[in-house]
């Protein structure tokens, strides 16, 4: 077999070096995007987990209320539980660094006396053992320890200061000493500051609350038993869990985002695999006679099949191996954008490095090789059907196979399209995992691919006239040629249509989403100015602000009303949703939320625990008006009743809107994430804005956005979240263009005699160029037209099914006409450009040799 491979295949591979190269590029780039994205996803999650793990240290159990905190007295209660050997309380905040947008520090507040039990701190210029008695460290509110590496990187020294944004504004923090970058100091990408927990509470306006108690247990009692004991003591509002179980809500939340990225990168590989299919098909056609000879010499059908499958497998293997290093580049290029989006949308992660791990390499190689072999199945089947007598036929190389209407690809294609709708109806097996929808999309793409030859072979008729008008008689012949070998032409057409379809799909989803967010902000959040600290949008990246700022803003001339809004990420019913607190009266009088069900609760109803929930939270947890559900708060678990379900795009996990009065009481916190400011005179908006900015800018990394700017930011957030996926679809389109080059190169070979004849009867070089560029034009046009149509259907499914399952939001679908037109124009032009190389090859053929070609 190997000698056969060497003898028969290698010669062919090197005989058509460009085609082989393009195929390898296709596989390599496909594998690279897949592997790169997988590596990013893992790196981000690893970083997130390692922050949890390194911070957890040697704790057996952690008592935690990460987002809302609990009173510090609980620590003594926990210590008193029998079986608790040791307990250490702490809290941590993510604090933005002043004047460095996007940069923040993970500040851990710990009791060094206790904490050493769980975590090891190693001093560089400080004796950690003595810190517990170091009054300067304990009694100040601004002394921090940072790692030596971090200090060096930022040019900081012991005694120097770094300014962090706190709810009370920017404060200088003094570097009290340096620690080695070990243990918890490796968390959060190394941007960690350690301070005394009492100082942190003070500096960050956290009252006397903790977010975490680490517990070491008596092993004789057992983990489960201790967990039960502790849970009973701390009450149901606080989680008791082993460290490795923590962060699960966040991981679930990020899952659909990451899955989307993975699938997006899969499209590039899919198109890459098309190139393999293309190449193997071409080589089967061109080697018919050789196959016939092999058969005549006694090679079995199975052996012929194995030969081609093996050849494809080798392409897959070499391509994948080339793809792995390329994958690192993809990972490096995209990690910034991905971790940025995850930080903006889900949880602040600090990852800027990406490594290719064994799992990604194995996956890349496996999918690259299997995909290639799979792509070779059909052509190798066709090859094995070659009869020994064909070795003797002179015209054996001409033509690339006819399309039979009643063949299995047709039936399969129809079948796949028929099961699309039922497939979309399969409920997701896991939260945030809309597998049915994704499978349906794959079926559509494959179904269209399988049926496309049937359509292509009829297109010479409608294309003939426009072809002739555009390119003269060459254009007419190009239209004929385009439809002549439909099975072969269908490959680049389908590859292109898949790339274009996915781009249009994404664009339709993004566009529909953006339009809906826009409408939502305009109607439901109609404030004139939005004041935030450290990030333009309140959410994961901003720092909360103290409530007293409300008075200061109200004092600014022209300010009519100020609504202090809190957006607190919080785990409710197993989802990391946002609890939004706002002044209900302002919301009712100024906002015009899009209510789907129920009505906004009045004052009495609010006092009795009626809240408003978002559409997606309702859908995810099957809540209706009148349903009740619990929320764990620092003052215990409270039950809330759904008063209304509204459209709200704050978080894809869901949101609950609680009246501010109730929130402050129950959550023990009056911090504010964004002040919604209504002005009296819109004409003086700019002055008002300038006044607020100048009032705050020295103290906070303050942003004051107009309503239009807020909407713009929301649009950017959505666009940014899909930027990488969109880029990958463009890569897929580019790979499809390589397929056009491949196909046309094969067509030039097959039609060498025709080219000779045309030249002999008077065609000049330009006309030959037009002949092939014209065919490329038709391939590009058809592929992109198929793509924009398929993309519309897939976009609808993504918006209305996958999106609903993944986000709980059901927003109106709108078709991206702009993108569609752009795609058709660009892809068609690019196809022509791709066709120029084969066209030039055709035009430069020696006429005499072409005529003698067989």
């Amino acid at each position: 077999m190997w000698s056969l491979l060497r003898l028969v295949s290698l010669r062919h591979v090197f005989g058509a070096p460009l085609r082989s190269l393009l195929t390898l590029i296709g596989v390599a780039v496909g594998v690279a995007t897949l592997v790169g994205i997988a590596a990013i996803n893992r790196s981000v999650m690893d970083a997130f987990r390692s922050t949890i793990d390194t911070v957890a240290g040697k704790a057996d159990l952690t008592v935690a209320a990460e987002t809302s905190g609990f009173p510090e007295e609980l620590l003594e209660t926990v210590r008193a539980v029998p079986g608790v050997l040791h307990a250490s309380g702490g809290l941590s905040v993510v604090a933005p660094v002043k004047d460095s947008p996007g940069e923040s520090m993970y500040v851990m507040g710990v009791d060094l006396l206790d904490d050493g039990f769980f975590r090891t701190y190693e001093g560089v210029d400080t004796d950690v053992g003595k810190l517990a008695d170091d009054l300067e460290f304990l009694n100040s509110t601004d002394r921090i320890l940072v790692s030596e590496r971090y200090a060096k990187e930022k040019g900081l020294k012991t005694g120097g200061t770094i300014e962090l944004i706190t709810p009370e504004g920017a404060k200088p923090f003094i570097i009290h000493g340096l620690l080695k970058e070990t243990g918890p100091l490796k968390a959060f990408g190394g941007s960690v500051a350690v301070m005394f927990f009492g100082s942190l509470q003070e500096a960050f306006a956290r009252g006397r609350t903790l977010t975490r108690i680490d517990v070491a247990i008596d092993p004789r009692v057992g983990l489960e038993a201790m967990k039960d004991r502790l849970q009973k003591v701390v009450g149901s509002s606080i989680e008791v869990d082993s460290p490795d179980r923590r962060g699960a809500a966040v991981q679930t939340m990020v899952r659909s985002f990451q899955l989307g990225l993975n699938l997006g990168s899969g499209v590039a590989l899919l198109v890459g695999v098309f190139l393999v299919y293309n190449t193997v098909s071409i080589s089967v056609v061109q080697r018919r006679r050789e196959i016939g000879t092999l058969r005549a010499l006694g090679a079995t059908r199975r052996r012929i099949r194995a030969l081609f499958a093996l050849e494809a497998g080798v392409f897959g293997l070499v391509g994948s191996l080339l793809g792995l290093p390329l994958g690192i580049l993809v990972g490096k290029a995209a990690i910034g954008s991905v971790s940025n989006s995850i930080s903006e949308i889900y949880v602040k992660v600090n990852t800027h490095s990406v490594q290719l791990g064994v799992p990604e390499m194995v996956m890349g190689l496996t999918l690259g090789v299997l995909g290639s072999v799979f792509a070779a199945l059909r052509p190798s089947w066709i090859a094995s059907a070659v009869q020994p007598v064909e070795a003797l036929r002179k015209d054996a190389a001409i033509g690339a196979g006819a399309v039979e209407v009643k063949s299995w690809p047709t039936y399969l294609g129809v079948f796949l399209l028929a099961i699309v709708w039922p497939t979309t109806q399969i409920p997701p097996p896991l939260e945030n995992l809309p597998l049915g929808g994704y499978a349906a999309i794959f079926f559509i793409l494959m179904g269209v691919t399988l049926l496309s030859p049937l359509v292509l072979r009829t297109l010479n008729v409608p294309f003939a006239r426009p072809g002739e008008l555009l390119f003269g008689i060459s254009g007419r012949l190009a239209a004929d040629n385009f439809a002549r070998a439909p099975v072969r032409t269908a490959v680049p057409v389908s590859a292109l249509s898949i790339g274009v379809a996915m781009a249009v799909t994404l664009s339709s989803f993004i566009g529909s989403f953006q339009a809906s967010t826009d409408r939502w902000i305009e109607q439901a959040v109609p404030a004139d100015l939005f004041v935030t600290s450290s990030a333009k949008l309140a959410g994961t990246q901003n720092q909360s602000m103290q409530a007293s700022l409300q008075k200061e803003i109200e004092a600014v001339p022209n300010v009519d009303l100020v609504d202090p809004v809190r957006l607190m990420a919080h785990d409710v019913l197993g989802l990391r949703i946002y609890v939004i607190s706002l002044s209900s009266d302002i919301y009712r009088s100024r906002g015009n939320p899009l209510i789907l069900e129920g009505s906004l609760p009045d004052a009495a109803q609010r006092a009795s625990g009626q809240v408003v929930i978002s559409e997606n939270f309702a859908r995810r947890r099957d809540l209706k008006v009148g349903s009740t559900f619990p929320i764990k708060t620092p003052t215990g678990e409270h039950t809330y009743t759904v008063g209304a379900v509204i459209i709200d795009y704050t978080s894809d996990q869901g949101s609950v809107i609680v009246d501010r009065e109730l929130f402050v009481k129950q959550f023990n916190s009056d911090l504010v994430d964004t002040f919604h400011v209504y002005v009296k005179d819109l004409g003086a908006l700019d002055q008002t804005r300038a006044a607020i900015t100048s009032k705050l800018s020295g103290r906070f990394n303050a942003y004051v956005l107009s309503n239009a700017e807020l909407r713009q930011e929301a649009r950017k957030l959505v666009g940014g979240a899909f930027a990488i996926t969109y880029a990958m679809e463009i890569v897929a389109v580019a790979l499809a263009l390589l397929g056009i080059i491949n196909t046309l190169l094969a067509a030039v070979l097959d039609r060498t005699r025709e080219i000779g004849l045309l030249r002999a009867v008077g065609a000049d070089r330009r006309q030959i160029i037009k002949l092939f560029a014209g065919e490329a034009f038709f391939i590009g046009l058809t592929g992109s037209l198929f793509g924009v149509v398929t993309g519309g259907v897939v976009g609808y499914i993504v918006t209305k099914i996958v999106g609903v399952q993944a986000t709980g939001w059901n927003f109106p679908f709108s078709y991206p006409w702009g993108t569609a037109v752009q795609m058709v124009v660009i892809a068609t032009c690019a196809a022509i450009i791709a066709g120029l190389y084969p066209a030039r090859r055709a035009a430069s053929l020696d006429v005499v040799e072409a005529l003698a070609y067989e």
């Binding site: 010479n460 009867v761 008077g762 065609a763 070089r765 006309q767 006429v847």
Partner: protein, 229 residues
């Protein structure tokens, strides 16, 4: 009409040199029907390709209508072939996706003329060549003889000065071949066309006015055809 003087054509394949034509000198007056005979590999096609400006000689000069065609740039060559020459090959004369009539007008379409103006003329030619009602057939619906007739019609449509035919009957049975030869003879004589036809079939060569024999790239015989009484 045609003046070939000391023309040689050497093909190089790696180290091997093939002297396909070796110092050939030949003159063909206007209106003459010249048959070129010789065994396979004797250089017949090479000569024809040079006359058709598909290829350039290694040495020597080649003039058609007194003009040295090997000096033409590529564009001008294409135009020259389109306007002044008609070609008929042994096989694969027609484009498979075009109808018979489209194949006939192909060179004129390449020249940028409009279909409407060409089609009546082409249809008339096809009728004249016994292909009435076949004008919308595609090559795979035609017999070998019919295909060659379409090719002749194509070669003649633009009213060229010179018709070049490379074994036009090589692929046909003798009866059909005879009919095709007759057609070429009659159609060219009526138009006072110069014809150079390559064949290895002595019988076929007889339709010409003159027979030139080639062997190993050299002219080894040049005789008028005696008119059969």
């Amino acid at each position: 009409m045609i003046q070939v003087a000391n023309v040689s054509k050497v093909y190089r394949r790696g180290k091997n040199e093939v002297r396909a034509l070796d110092d050939v000198t030949l003159t063909v007056p206007r209106g003459q029907f010249l048959s070129v005979m010789g065994s396979s590999g004797s250089g017949k096609s090479t000569l024809l390709n040079l006359l058709g400006a598909l290829d350039v000689p290694t040495s020597g000069t080649l003039k058609i209508d007194g003009r040295e065609i090997s000096r033409f740039p590529d564009d001008e060559l294409s135009r020259f072939r389109r306007d002044r020459l008609g070609f008929i090959f042994q096989f694969f004369n027609l484009l498979p996706t075009l109808t018979a009539i489209e194949n006939v007008i192909l060179p004129e379409l390449l020249a940028g003329k409009s279909r409407d103006e060409l089609e009546p003329k082409a249809r008339a030619l096809l009728e004249q060549f016994g292909l009435t009602g076949r004008d919308t057939h595609r090559p795979d619906e035609l017999s070998g003889g019919q295909m060659q007739r379409v090719a002749i019609a194509r070669a003649l449509l633009s009213e060229p000065a010179l018709l070049l035919a490379d074994e036009p009957t090589g692929n046909l049975d003798s009866k059909t071949g005879g009919e095709v030869l007759r057609l070429i003879r009659e159609a060219t004589r009526a138009r006072n066309l110069t014809v150079v036809m390559v064949t290895h079939d002595a019988h076929a060569a007889e339709v010409g006015d003159r027979i030139v024999r080639l062997a190993d790239g050299r002219v080894v015989g040049d005789d008028p055809v005696r008119v059969a009484a």
